[in-house]
């Protein structure tokens, strides 16, 4: 049996709890993801895909239900432990690249390591350099985010998500802002990383063509998994 990276048990999420406007947007989600799997998350707008990703990414907590990361019940962890677990096991790629504009591309890739270690050692710069090479951006490593194309920015964001050697990368519409060709190559990059390093991916996408090229499609409709 493959190693389990992520498991959700009857996860519910409600917003504005206790207010008249309280709405439950995720209902009893059960989900399991193993090492090396590349999952696509699809579904209509407002169905709760981003909400689910935020919970899996430990950026938000479920209202009820349990979330296990590599077998650990995250409901038992405090804020600081959650932050540390997030930094070490999960990488994020968003629709917007969210590169920090005050830093160059390569420095952005160094950032998670810098945050973790506290100091920018030579090994950190070297690792960031390797990652820049892996995403094919050695030439623009010294550029600021503003001086790169959308596809390049997204590649830097992927390199950054991989900096800590995460077990799981969460990508929320990573190709949503890109033209078909760039979208394709960004997706292929993730697929390649997934195959070469065994990193698991959970990717939200509206692009059915890309979704079909994943290991599995999970369709979310009205806060429920429809499969």
């Amino acid at each position: 049996m493959a190693e389990e990276i992520l498991r959700l048990e009857r996860v519910c999420k409600a917003y504005n709890v206790g207010l008249p406007s309280e709405t439950e947007v995720l209902h009893d989600i059960d989900l399991r993801l193993n090492r090396g799997q590349f999952l696509a998350l699809t579904g209509p707008s407002g169905s709760g895909k981003s909400t689910l990703l935020n919970i899996v990414g430990l950026l938000d907590r479920p209202t009820s239900g349990r979330l296990f990361i590599k077998g650990q019940d995250t409901g038992l962890l405090g804020d600081a432990a959650i932050t540390r677990l997030r930094g070490h096991t999960i990488g994020f790629v968003f629709q917007d690249h969210h590169l920090i504009s005050a830093f160059t591309a390569q420095e952005n890739v160094m950032m998670p390591l810098l945050v973790d270690r506290g100091f920018p050692g030579a090994d950190i710069a070297a690792r960031a350099g390797d990652l820049m090479e892996r995403v094919g951006l050695v030439k623009v490593a010294g550029n600021l985010a503003a001086n790169m194309s959308g596809g390049q920015q997204q590649r830097v964001a992927i390199a950054r998500a991989l900096a800590m050697g995460p077990d799981l990368v969460l990508a929320d519409e990573p190709t949503g802002n890109l033209d078909t060709k760039s979208a394709d190559s960004v997706f292929e990059l993730m697929r390649q990383v997934n195959r070469e390093s065994g990193t698991s991916f959970l990717m939200v996408t509206h692009n059915l063509d890309l979704a079909r090229r994943c290991d599995r499609i999970i369709d979310v409709v009205d806060g429920r998994i429809n499969s």
Binding site: G57, T83, P120
Partner: protein, 408 residues
Amino acid sequence: MNRWLPFEWIAAVRFLREGRMQTLFIVTGIGIGVGVIVFMSALLTGLQANFLKRVLTSQPQIQLLPPDQIARPLRNGLGEFESAIVQRPSQRTISIDQWPKIRDRMLADPEVTVVSPTMSGSALAVRGDANRAIAISGVEPASYFKIVKIPDYIVAGEARLTSDDIIIGTELAKDLGANLGDKLRVQAASGSAVVLKITGVVDLGNKGPNERNTYVALRTAQSLLGTIGGVTTIDLTVRDIYAAETVAARIQASNTVQADSWIKTNAQFFTAINAQQTSNTLIRVFVALSVAFGIAAVLVVSVIQRSKDIGILRAMGASRGQVLRVFLIQGGLLGFVGALAGSLVGVAGLVYWHSIVKQADGSELFPLVFERSLFVVTAILATLTGLLAAMFPALRAAKLDPVEAIRG
């Protein structure tokens, strides 16, 4: 990236550098405020130092006088006032009782550094048709010149006082048309007179003293004023000039003399200094407040502008503490860099002011005194102000919900 800087410092510096205009404007603002503080403080210190130097080289720090002769209301046998209004008697030239004994006691006092008996009185200086009322100080040059630095103020001749010599002020010399080496007839109220040779001309820095003050040997003054062997004052300097008042009080309590310290005789000066220091403190407080609000305002805006960056940093594992420190450091840095800029502004202002503002005679109004402590304390206070001001925005940054922050 500097390999030796921790993450928080790197991020803080980058964020400040990227926010060019904001950073530049707030640093300029802080610089102006701090510059005013530095300028005012150094100017005040300089003026004070100048005044102190002037006072302490032209006056004794403590002067011992015969006790005041006090008039009492006249009463009749029943104890009722017959005449309740009393006039102070004019103080005659009286010698200090048993002054050699008091002088010896002063010489033995460890707080006292120089003791100099003086005989003063008034007289008339006559030269040809011209005559002027003068104040005569009969002094022992060896000790007196250590208290009042006459030799430093000599503009012609020398500070020599044998029994036939007199040192006069520049204005008096002009009024009498007298030159160095000329003879001067000095006549006391009693009618006795001596002829003295002008051996020195001094500039005491003020017109009044330059017109009136003259210095002769102690013996000369004693015989002229008809008080052989007497002195009217004993002048002292003390080890700690700021303790002069307590020392004076102690001397007065244990001797039959009146002891006036320079602190008492220059009470006005100290009142003025106190008033200036109070207003200086107020200015500091208000400048610190406006610096604090300026920094807080800039950082509050910066936190809003950077909420996406904060969100992504939190997502990649940055703790609330790290985010908090990134913004605290920015506040501290703004304060510190502002203080540096302000010190430059203040010093430049002082140097310029010093070069254009002069006393009537062209000499400097105040010495340029730059105490290192002023700059160090200013830098520390400005940095602390910056840190404090950054507290509120930094807490807001640390509390940002990453989900909200990333969604923008």
